[in-house]
Symmetry: C2
């Protein structure tokens, strides 16, 4: 592993070096990784811009083949990728095997979306020369790619939200070249996946600038990438602070650009009274399973639970506390994340009115996170909104509500979220119905009788939501709708057929679905 940056078809060295870190030990891993020099970053953006016009006008079938070629190239490297990702992320083999399948499945979903053609948004309005008082010219529009896109790899999904993750897949599908800033916690995993993409670019005969990958441990590189004038949109999954910093850079450019940042969510779960009475013990076990899965390092971790106080809730908490006390401490993604979790939990525990119900098995180590179950009265939470800030890791805060009005008040007070979950049986439907309006305003996905972790990559999925869950609630970073982030409409008026793009020509050579309005 040479640790070089992938700048179009070239591999570029830098003078500064950094290393991958083994999550479980904090020790450096083999491989000297070059910090991408500023001039190489600039060249990656220049190449992306040079390749843009040609790449965006490849046929949907050509791009579909490209995405499938990437998937196949990743599968060919699966063993090496998973082995390296286990070391760099501390995540177990089974999880990473599933995540790799999700990553290739995502690429193939976008290949299918491209072939179907709805994404192209073709609208045709033929000329109406006899119309009164004025004739209508021939008008037709389609969606075209916005331009080169910067994608930031996420710490918590080293494959599915990283170099070849959903942001990259949807941007490449839309026709946008991509410059990836790899996450510094998994440089080796990123390089292996980046090589797969670069190989697919060459195999498919595409312009080299369609894909580049830069690496480095500090923020300057990402800032320079977002500030580069060739970049026209940004995809990011990470912390609220990180996302907001990129939003500020993007807004301050001479030409401001959109940032699609998926940032911060505590994913409220409502345990309705009849459901709690019917199946409290089973819910308690499933809840602890969801909150501690892979050390709770999910954007959709159930970090806030709302229920009406009473003996059913007490029983639920007893069962949950028993289950959680047995959860072993788990290695977290990075030492920094483990430390932030430990500090976040300590701060939360010290807040007025917060009870510590249970703590998982502690390891005493600095790279692990022990699960934590906390509770608080709704009145105390309403008085202290800091209690609703995300603590990334295996913890959850249960809010005891005196009545449904107080439950509603807590929900109304929340910031935007990725998800909200209702645990309900039929007797709870009236309560659930009364909560739906606020949930619809606050979140991107509402689910019943499940857990928010485990996001389906599909056509209707919304992994998004109002700020600060994301920077832009009008879209999603998971699922087929994500392609629309990287498209913009262009209208063609009275152009001769010979000058129209293939998507809009009379003969419909790309065989795209069309909306025609006579």
């Amino acid at each position: 592993m040479d640790g070089l940056s992938l700048i179009g078809a070239r591999r570029v060295a830098g003078s500064a070096i950094f290393h991958g870190i083994e999550a479980a030990t904090g020790a450096p891993l083999p491989g000297d990784f070059s910090v991408t020099p500023p001039e190489a970053l600039a060249q990656a953006c220049e190449l992306a811009s040079e390749g843009f016009d040609a790449y965006r006008e490849t046929t949907p079938e050509q791009r579909a083949t490209f995405l499938e070629t990437i998937a196949t190239a990743i599968e060919a490297r699966a063993e090496a990728i998973i082995a390296r990702a286990m070391l760099e992320s501390g995540l177990p083999q089974g999880r990473l095997t599933g995540e790799l399948a999700r990553t290739t499945g995502q690429l193939r979903l976008f290949a299918k979306v491209l072939s179907e053609g709805v994404w192209a948004g073709v609208i045709i309005e033929p000329a109406l020369p006899e119309r009164q008082p004025l004739p209508r010219p021939d008008l037709r529009s389609r969606q075209i790619a916005v331009g080169p896109v910067a994608v930031f790899g996420a710490s918590n999904f080293p494959l599915a939200f990283s170099v070849a993750g959903g942001d990259t897949a949807s941007a490449l599908a839309a026709g946008c070249p991509v410059v990836v800033k790899a996450h510094p916690a998994h440089p080796g995993t990123s390089l292996l996946v980046g090589e797969a993409i670069a190989e697919a670019v060459a195999t498919c005969g595409l312009p080299e600038g369609v894909f580049s990958m830069v690496q480095g441990p500090d923020h300057a590189l990402g800032t320079a990438l977002v500030a580069n004038p060739h970049i026209k949109a940004v995809g990011f999954t990470g912390s609220r602070g990180g996302g907001m910093a990129l939003m500020a850079v993007a807004a301050a450019r001479p030409e401001p650009i959109p940032v699609y940042a998926e940032m911060s969510s505590i994913n409220p779960v409502i345990l309705a009274p009849a459901a709690l009475a019917d199946k409290g013990e089973a819910l308690a076990k499933a809840f602890v399973g969801s909150l501690s899965l892979f050390a709770g390092q999910f954007c959709t971790n159930p970090g806030l639970v709302l229920a009406l106080e009473g003996p059913e809730l007490d029983q639920f908490l007893t069962h949950a506390a028993q289950a959680l006390a047995q959860v072993p401490a788990q290695v977290m993604l990075t030492g920094g994340i483990a430390k932030a979790y430990q500090q976040g939990i300590a701060t939360l525990q010290s807040q007025s009115g917060v009870e510590v119900l249970a703590t998982g098995v502690e390891s005493g180590g600095t790279v692990e996170g022990a699960a934590s179950l906390l509770a608080v009265a709704a009145s105390a939470l309403l008085a202290n909104p800091a209690l609703t800030h995300e603590v990334f890791g295996p913890s959850s805060l249960v809010v005891r509500c005196r009545d449904t009005a107080e439950m509603l008040a807590v929900l109304e007070g929340l910031e935007g979220q990725l998800t909200a979950t209702l645990h309900i049986v039929e007797a709870d439907y009236p309560l659930a119905a009364s909560l739906m309006p606020v949930l619809e305003r606050k979140v991107g996905r509402i689910l019943a009788n499940g857990w928010p972790t485990g996001v389906e990559v599909s056509r209707s999925m919304v992994h998004g939501g109002p700020f600060p869950a994301t920077s832009d609630p009008r879209t999603t970073s998971v699922g087929a709708m994500a392609i629309h982030r990287f498209l913009r409409p262009v209208c063609y008026q009275a152009l001769p057929d010979a000058l129209l793009p293939a998507a809009l020509q009379a003969g419909n050579p790309l065989n795209l679905p069309r909306h025609q309005f006579d």
Copy 2:
């Protein structure tokens, strides 16, 4: 005309007063207009928020009826509206009659769009309980309104881009309550139209907060409106400075929100050589007609013309100069706009290399703008990008290009634009084809053998484009696609039918079109 603010169903007075100004004389018009007090603005936003959940869940048919009721109420007041708008804007009766028809046509277009239901974006993915390795839950998504929207009336379209203009129509169609900040240059026109909307709200039995209108001559009111936490999106048509100021306010909020600002465009027109040789004189006359129409006060005014130097261009310029010299000075929308135009032209004329080819008939008055035709060599323009800044009014700058490479360089150097126009005959197609990639990157609409003024309100229209033409090139402020600015997707996972919104229920009670993926 009592000059009061429309705060929901109430009419509210303020202690400060301002007046409409007769564009042609600069004299105050009858009517004392209250500057909306801050607490009344806050109440308008509060009412919008209170009415939001009920309004967004009205049926598409209810909202369609509402939009049609507004159109009818405007038509009932047409005579008074046009009479007042003529005084306040200086625009002639014929133009305003057409603009009123366009405004009601826009409202009715969105009523039709609502009835068709595609806007709702319904996607259904039924549960797949047997799927391996994991079952798929039932997933379904739809588009819902983003929340209360702030709309800023534009100076140059006192009806079609104002109180009941495209931003308001598309936001109301999406299910968003609207708080309009009327343009201070036409408070009386705004009040008459606002009363029509308020009457329609009452007639249709909608929550009063669905519409409010605030008035005032200075920026503080608009800033407070955009900063109000109940507001979730902003529609604006106006100057680059104004749009960017609102973007900054929106980005600095604790919860940043999108601003759809349509700002600045010089709308390049390419006169290809064979077209110029074939029909230079006719083009010259049509060009002068387009640039001076209603004192050139259009976002789509053809402010920059590119052609290859040579005798055909010289002849075109001779004809254009002759025609332009006869154009009478026209009253501009406001004294401020007239002054800015006069100063802008003076600055442009003083730039190195700029030739004054012709000036229209000058009035010597302070409220009129005289047409102006300027020319410059492409090399001088490339050395001085300030020459491409918009001067709002009846002027255009012709760029003499030595060759097509220089023409391409000028186009590549331009900022984002609303439109680009190609005047071509068949012999010019190869040149036009070579320009298409850069035009597609730079503009929202490309047209052939016409003039960019006169924007069709239709399904495929894109009145948008890259910054600074707009703040967000992914959408349009004219035409049916504008509704998408005010919608966001929400996904429902495994919800019982009883809790699903009607749009997603098994029986499809709203009869919306659905995409189903089994």
